[in-house]
Point group: C2
Chain length 162, copies 2
């Protein structure tokens, strides 16, 4: 099914452009909410991931958040330094570092949840519940397609142009 035609394609009518704009606006909006709470967006999502699924590894979260593994090491350094996360070598596979939320980490992440949820609800205010469900389904289907096409599900290293 060929939806877009090269002869009529413009930036304005592109779902790609809309996706980029929407996610960027939302991120900026959320990022504002973190001002004065001592967390960045990436730090917070990392803590959320660990809250919902304890004992994940650094690699798991990296793939999940589509974050560079090198950069992520430094995110973890910062979180550990501030006592929000504990690193622990896995006994089963000593290459792996298992991550755990500390009590303080759990407190920090929970403190932000209502704020983030509030902002998200605001952003979705003009959509009905049914529309939000549809929205999620469409996103999921597009994601699934992109992931199956991607060589290695998010661990590709991107080459930058000069």
């Amino acid at each position: 099914m060929k939806h877009y035609d090269p002869r009529t394609y413009t930036v304005d009518n592109s779902v790609g452009y809309l996706l980029r704009r929407c996610s960027s606006l939302l991120r900026d909006d959320l990022e504002q909410a973190f001002d004065g709470h001592g967390l960045t967006f990436v730090q917070w999502v990392t803590l959320m991931r660990l809250r919902d699924d304890p004992a994940l590894t650094a690699g798991d979260i990296c793939r999940d958040l589509r974050h560079d593994s090198g950069a992520f090491t430094r995110v973890l350094d910062h979180l550990e330094e501030h006592g929000l996360v504990r690193r622990e070598r896995s006994e089963a596979d000593r290459r792996v570092v298992l991550l755990h939320l500390t009590a303080e980490g759990r407190r920090a992440v929970q403190e932000m949840v209502p704020i983030v949820v509030g902002r998200l609800n605001d952003a979705l205010q003009d959509l009905s519940a049914a529309e939000i469900v549809t929205f999620g389904k469409l996103l999921r289907r597009m994601i699934e397609r992109l992931e199956s096409a991607a060589p290695c599900a998010g661990m590709v290293r991107k080459g930058l142009k000069p």
Copy 2:
């Protein structure tokens, strides 16, 4: 209308997370398409904007692409250096720099259109035409909401945490 509840909110069920993931996957996919064509994604979108609307200013494009004005100066430096774009002081308002595609710039952008459109169509393959239209409408409504809430429509400078 409160869709998400702080007590049941998880990363997985969040439209925010899906948006981020989807737009990031799509961008990586497109970025790959530019390999070997001497353009980055941002450079290409800039050229597209100029193709569809000649004589825009740097500020216009910045706001439109949600790009930092400082960083954008350097993008333009690069494009001008390679002869794809021409800067021209406006006579009406000499603070303003009007941007124009050169013939070479037009060629470069047009060369990429079919490739990008192909990738985008691939990514949307599992959605029907009607669904893609719906998708676009939902995105637009969310964007509109976020823009009306934002203090200054994309020109806010974000404070970063240490």
